[in-house]
Every structure is written in C-alpha cells, then in structure tokens.
Amino acid sequence: MAGRLNRLIDFAPVLIALILALLVASVLLLALNANPLEAYDFMLQGAAGSENALAETLVKATPILFVGIGITIAFRGGMINIGGEGQMIAGALAGVTVALVMGEMRVPPELAKEKGAFDLIIVACSLVGGFLMGALYGGLAGFLKAYFDVNEILSTIMLNQIAVQMMNFLLNGILLDPAEAGFNNIPKTARLVTAAQLPRFSINIDLPRQIGEIQHIELFARTRLHWGLLIAVFLAVIIYIFLWRTSLGYRIRAVGENQRASSYAGINVKRQMMFSMFLAGGFAGLAGVVQVLGLQYRLQTDGSPAGFTGAAGFNGIVAALFGGLNPIGAIPAAAFFGGLLVGAQKMQRELGVPASLITAVNGLIVVFVVSSEIFILQRSKRRVSVAENETPTLNPSPIKREGLASSDDGEEDG
C-alpha cells in the first residue's frame, strides 16, 4: 500500500511539471497572439485526434522507443550514451545496404514493386545487419571508455559527426540511387524492393452493432503504422526480462550501480561496460534500419544529422529518463514524446505560429518534465537513507549521483 502511494506521489510532480510547462508556453503563445487553449487543442488533435493522428504518433514513437531501450541499457550499465544519432545512421547504412544487395539478388526486377510481397530473409538480415553495425559503432565508444578511459559523452558526440559525414559521403557516392546520377543527384539510395519493406498493419475489430449484426472495423488501415512498432514493444519486454531476470542483466546493472563492488564480486567490469554500449548502439542501429524498412523505403539526407533521424537519437534519451530507465516505462514515454512532436506540427499548421516557437514549447515541456525527476530523486534518496539506517548498503549508484536515477525500487530481485 505504501509502495503504491509512493509511486502515486512520485508521479504527481510529473503532472505538475507538465502543467507548469504548458503555462509558461502559454505566455509565449499569447505573445504571438495565439490562443493557448486553442493551441493545445490543436496539439491534442494532432497527436490523438484521429486514427491517422494516433498512428503518426506511434510511428514517431517507434525510433524513439528503440533508442530509449538502448539508452536504458547503457545507463543501467553506468554508461552515458549520447551517440544515438550516429548509431542510428550507422545501422541504417548497413541495413539499407543489406536490403538493397539482397533485394537485387533474391527479387527479379519485374517483381520489385509487387504489392504485398514480403521476404523474411531479406528483412531479417537487414535488421540484423543494422543492429550489428549500430552495436559495433556504440561498442567502439564502450571499448574506448573501458580500456582507455575516454569519456564516452565526448566520444559518442564525436562519433555522431563522423557518422553524418560518412552518410553524406556514401549517399553521394556508391550508395547514390543510379536514377539520381546526373544533374539531380539528390543524396539518397535507390528505393527498396517491396519484399524488403516492413509491412504496415491494421487492427481488425468486430463490434456488435445491433442484435445479430456485427460491425467490422479496420483500425489504422490507411496509415503508416508498421511492424517496427510491434518489434520495438516486443524487444522492450525482452530487455526488461534480460535486465531484471537474467544473471547477465544483473551484472550490467551491478556495474552501473557500483563498479568497485562489482569488480570485487568478480564481475568483468570492462566487458560489461563494452557490452552495455554494444547493446545500446545495436538498438539505436535498429531504430535507423526500421525507419528505412518501415517508413521511408530508402535512406536519404539533407546533409544534416536530424534530416534522417528526426533527432530520435536525442529524443530517445529523454524518453528513457522519462520512462524511469526502465524498458517498459520507455514505451509510454516514447508515445508521449511522439505525440508531443506530431501534435506540435499540427499546432504550427493550424495557428500559423513560427516553427521555432513549437521547438521552444516542446523544449519547455521536456525541461519541466525531466526536472521533476529531481523531486522524485530526492524522495527516493530519502527512502534509501531510511533504508540505510535499517540496513547498511554500498555507496549510492553513480547514476543516482549524476541525477539520472529512476524510482524503480523493488526491482532488484533479479
């Protein structure tokens, strides 16, 4: 009972922060002669006001969730991964290359655009390729941290830039769509064959209309919702089990909690640090390849990092923190931020306010909501100190010292 009450009290600051953020954003909207209530109504409509809006929210949430799961693993292993953007790009580059090559090998040209075609082998190989490349890219930062004590925040940020330039180079070179070569060589790959694309899905519901009459409803039938979402949710559950129900997951979390104690207990700390970054990079890589296979069907860039990723590499960090560094918690958190981003666009379209204001409104919400974690952290610290008075414990978590703690108490039973 006390645990439930604590969780409710923990959630209250998040709600208060959200309201405060909306109040401050209202001032900005009023300054631009926009009615805040109308603005937030449009935001809500854009995020969940229709079947298509809801689908777009979930589509936007998908890469954020993938990255968020990876960030959760890294942070649980005591690593701060800011390299989601670069890892996404690395994964997308590898995944799209695999899909293009295998598509050419396995699908005859006349069947390239055949509707409904699906080749599990191409898709699976492409996903694995994307995961592995992202994992290697993330693992590189982990290796540098574990064996050369290179600050992983700096190395991942630098690796982001390298990935962007590599993408620009490859998309203007060997990966450039042959149809683009010439005067309009827009940097993008060729379109994937249909068999290499992640199918879109809809939900069939039979509702009783009258006695003896059933109304058939097909939800999300004409939307962009694709299998990537299902894969992400499934993997979130798998990673939760991995982190809290397996010895390997326990070792990662132990290293994140206290490296010296873990080392003393016989855990290979360096290996776990590398492994957590390997997995984090892999999930970001999956985010990249799923964006290509499920949504864009080709990799293209405008030369900027976010042009392809949509800043999901960074938004995933916020979603992971908002989700309490718990893969399951990252699911609603990603949906929330997906809705925020999609809804804000609707607000801009309907009110005609500048795009920079929308960025500011989003930023305010993120700052306030994440700041509410401080309150939650202090409460959890108080709880820990009470527990310490009863049972002596080791030093507090390095994550908690960094102010990135979650309130997922009661989960250390793995």
């Binding site: 854009g46 298509n52 809006a53 777009e56 936007k60 330039q165 620009n168 203007n172 010439g182 005067f183 309009n184 060589n185 827009i186 940097p187 993008k188 379109r191 004409r222 962009r224 964006q291 949504l295 864009q296 069907y297 080709r298 293209q300 405008d302 030369g303 900027s304 976010a306 042009g307 392809f308 949509g310 800043a311 981003l341 999609v342 666009q345 609707k346 801009q348 379209r349 309907e350 005609g352 500048p354 795009a355 920079s356």
Partner: protein, 339 residues
C-alpha cells in the same frame, strides 16, 4: 418533438449547404517548406509567391496554409498526409525535392487531391501530380557574366549547399557565365553539404576571401552567413532564389528571383478545369518565372547594363545556352523518347 428534430435537421442541412458552397468558392493551397518563410531564399520565394497569388485572386477566393522549417523528411510526411486526408485543400505543395518519395506514395493513395512538388522534372507518371523546377542556371549565367566584368582580383567564390538540383544548376551556370567572359578568372566553388549550416557556409565564404575572392555568390537558406561575410569584407554579392537586398546593404549587385506565382496561377486554373496534374513546369527568364533584380544601391555603368541586357536577351532567345551539356542531354532524352 419530431417536428423540432425535422426543422433542426433542415436548418443543419441548409447551414452545411451554405458552408459547402462557401467552401467550393475558395481555392485552398497547403504548402510545405524545408526552411523558414523569411529565409531570403528557397522557402521565402514560395511564400512570397503564395502571397502574390492571394493578392491576384483576392482573399475571398484564395487561402493558403503553410508549414515551414520542415527539414525532417519524416515530419513532412505527417503534414502532407494530414492535408491530403482532410479534403480541405485543392492543391498540396511539397516544396523540396527531398519530399518526392512521400508525394509519390500519397498521390497514389489520394487520387482526388492534386499535388505539386519541386524542384524536379518528375510527375511519377501520375495524373494528380504537377512537378516544377527553376532554370536557375540562367540567372547563374547572368550573374557570372556580371561578376566577370566586376572582379578586380580575378577570383570569385561560390558557396553552395548540396551539389544537387537548382543549387548545382546555379553554380554550373555561374561558372560558365564567368568563363564566357574570361576563362582565366578563377571560380572557386564550395558545396558545404548542408542547406542550413550557416556557420559552415560562413567559414567557406571567409576561405574564399582569404584566397583572394572579391566577389561572392551562393544559394540556399544558409547564405545569410556568406552575405554577412561579404558585407564585413566589402566585397560584392550576387544572390539567387529571392531578393537579398535588405541584408546585403550596399554590396549587393543582382538577384535571381523565383516567381513561382507564374506556375501556381496556371496550376490553379487547370485544377479548376479538372486537370489535377500530369504536367511539368519550369521557371525561365523567357516565361518571366525568373526575374533578375538589381540591388537598389548598385550603380552600374551604361556599358555594363548593355552587357546585362544583351545577356538576358541572348538567354531568352536561346542564342545563349548556360549549360550546353544539359541541352545536349535533353535533346538526347527527347530523341530516346521519340524512338
């Protein structure tokens, strides 16, 4: 109670009918742009065109809505789908060649909505897609000719975005224009790999100056950086896409201005006739979709003005071909098509 319901229903039908009629009288366009509407470049040119169309047709007959700064392609898909699905817009414009794949997908799904996208010559073979482009090589050539006559150091610099589309056309036209006057003039061209990276564009402009350039030019929304460098170093500036007169102070010379309203007005009349797409438009100096405008502070000699006028006349008549290789390619394509 039944009577009240019937009357209520009739009133509702009447009101909705009136609303529907009002809806039909207004032509509505929704436009998506990659950068801000005040970028002094690509997006502003389309925004200015929409304002010009509204001035031409009247606010009671024409309305438009926009979403700007949408450089993330995935975000563009959300907006374009929302507009297409709403059924409120007769024409949905995707102003950026990067949006092409989205337009291709949506046009197949929403066949009763007309789409326009550019800058590219490709309607995907669909009857509800218009495509458009600008012959920016023409203005580039014109600017190149003037730059060649105005340079004293014999070095000119160009800062481009990504080596694609009208940015590349402008650069090629500019280089050919300079070479048509004096092949010994050094034309240093840098494509920075981004449409929006102002600091990088600024660095590129400063590098041009350090290499002796006394004239700068460039395209895309990041040119605000190079213009500031030109002003600070008192070197001449040639622009494209929209007028940069206000920003370039007294160092501006000439600007190539895109008049998208020329093609928009034609598209609107065609859509009202029931032709939803299937055609390609190109802005040129000949059809007045491209206009060369001088900076208000620029004072040219009569001799230079005569050269400028002759250059425009030559391009319009076809005597001057800014990029001969492209002409050869187009002829080759036409011959292939004939076969």
């Amino acid at each position: 109670m039944k009577k009240i319901s019937t009357i209520g229903l009739l009133v509702l039908l009447l009101v909705s009918g009136v609303v529907s009629l009002a809806h039909d009288d207004v032509f509505r366009i929704a436009a998506l742009m990659p950068s801000a509407t005040n970028d002094l470049a690509f997006s502003q040119s389309m925004y200015d065109a929409l304002v010009a169309v509204q001035a031409e047709l009247g606010e009671e007959a024409f309305e438009f809505t926009i979403q700007d700064s949408t450089y993330i392609v995935d975000d563009a898909a959300v907006a374009l789908r929302d507009w297409a699905a709403s059924g409120e817009y007769q024409l949905v414009i995707a102003h950026g060649s990067q949006y092409g794949p989205i337009v291709e997908e949506l046009a197949a799904e929403f066949t009763d909505v007309s789409f326009a996208w550019g800058t590219r010559q490709d309607t995907f073979g669909m009857d509800n897609v218009y495509s458009y482009a600008a012959a920016s090589d023409e203005g580039g050539y014109f600017n190149g000719v003037l730059a060649a006559h105005l340079t004293e150091t014999g070095v000119v610099g160009l800062v481009g975005p990504i080596e694609v589309g009208d940015g590349k056309l402008y650069a090629d036209g500019f280089a050919n224009g300079v070479a048509s006057v004096d092949e010994d003039i050094e034309v240093n061209i840098v494509f920075i790999g981004s449409f929006s990276d102002v600091p990088l564009a600024t660095e590129a402009a400063e590098t041009h100056i350090a290499n002796g350039a006394d004239i700068l030019t460039g395209t895309a929304q990041m040119v605000v950086g190079p213009i500031a460098v030109a002003v600070a170093n008192d070197v001449l500036w040639f622009g494209s896409d929209a007028s940069q007169d206000e920003l370039s102070e007294d160092i501006g010379v000439a600007f190539q201005i895109y008049k998208w309203e020329v093609l928009l007005l034609d598209m609107i009349s065609k859509i009202q006739e029931g032709i939803l797409g299937g055609e390609y438009y190109k802005l040129t100096l000949a059809n007045e979709g491209l206009v060369m405008e001088y900076d208000k502070d620029f004072e040219a000699s009569d001799e230079l003005m005569a050269i400028a006028d002759a250059t425009i006349a030559g391009i319009v008549s076809g005597d001057i071909v800014p990029i001969p290789e492209m002409m050869e390619e187009e002829i080759s394509d036409e011959e292939d098509g004939d076969e």
